[in-house]
């Protein structure tokens, strides 16, 4: 399974985790990732209002020509965003596993402040184990 990158966005729209894996997308500065995460948060909210047939979730998959972004919105408002090639079919199950790793290593960590940037070795090492190593 090929993954370009993973973002975790808190319920206010701020980026709390960002990591790139396989090379495939442009290299951006951390400030640019922050801006993009905020934009995505806003877009997600608007897309749920544009539905022609009544209430809808926000955007779940956003496609470009060679890659797509898959978004998992949890009940607590946290968003997990995975960027993968178009052909990748397992994106949603990967995101479920990322969510499990997040709840095990971040939420159960008594020293982690909720909605703050994630600085946890446990989270990092398990994510690397799941998705391959890369760089932040």
């Amino acid at each position: 399974m090929v993954v370009f990158g993973l973002w975790v966005i808190n319920k206010a729209g701020g980026l709390v985790y960002q990591r790139n894996f396989t090379d495939g997308l442009a290299q951006l500065t951390s400030n640019e990732y922050l801006v993009l995460a905020g934009t995505l948060h806003g877009i997600h909210a608007i897309t749920s209002r544009l539905s022609p047939t009544g209430p809808s979730s926000g955007a779940q998959v956003i496609e470009g020509e060679t890659f797509k972004l898959t978004i998992l919105l949890t009940v607590t408002g946290t968003k997990f965003v995975l960027s993968t090639p178009l052909a990748e079919t397992a994106a949603e199950s990967i995101l479920q596993r990322v969510y499990e790793i997040y709840s095990d290593t971040v939420m159960k960590n008594p020293f982690h402040t909720p909605e703050m940037p994630i600085r946890s070795e446990g989270f990092d090492s398990r994510i690397v184990g799941l998705l391959g190593s890369g760089q932040s």
Binding site: I43, I46, L50, G54, F67
Partner: protein, 139 residues
């Protein structure tokens, strides 16, 4: 189906829609502006993230799917469909090269880049309607 035209100074033209009313709380104008805003932001985001110069093509939610086709002249064709349909960009392309060119671009009475007046003419609507109803994915 909404067609939104844009001239180089980035203004929008009020679009036409296909027949069928919706029971949502947004007026048509507000919705058109939201659609345009979402599309513009998504386009910029995808361009930024991608290494080569890529286009945003579609997005899907739990109840609908939005497809975008953008022409070289700056016109954006947007279609909303059921979430399980696959890419309908080629349909939008056909709408552009068929009814749009025939009844709008070639029509001397239609002012294409005006800000107040949309593109709304009977032939265009009817032929788009026919084309969509003739699609295999149209239930």
């Amino acid at each position: 189906v909404i067609a939104v035209g844009e001239d180089p100074s980035a203004s929008t033209v009020p679009p036409t829609t296909s027949a069928g009313s919706r029971t949502n709380t947004l007026t048509f104008d507000e919705e058109a502006k939201l659609v345009y805003g979402v599309i513009l932001s998504l386009r910029n985001m995808i361009k930024k993230l991608s290494r080569r110069d890529e286009q945003f093509t579609s997005y899907r939610t739990s109840t609908y799917r939005l497809h975008l086709y953008e022409t070289l002249s700056g016109y954006k064709f947007v279609m909303l469909s059921d979430p399980s349909t696959d890419g309908l960009r080629f349909v939008l392309r056909q709408i552009y090269s068929g009814p749009f060119v025939d009844y709008v671009a070639r029509n001397p009475l239609v002012s294409m880049d005006s800000r107040e007046q949309g593109i709304d003419n009977e032939y265009f609507r009817a032929s788009v309607d026919r084309m969509i109803r003739g699609l295999s994915v149209f239930a």
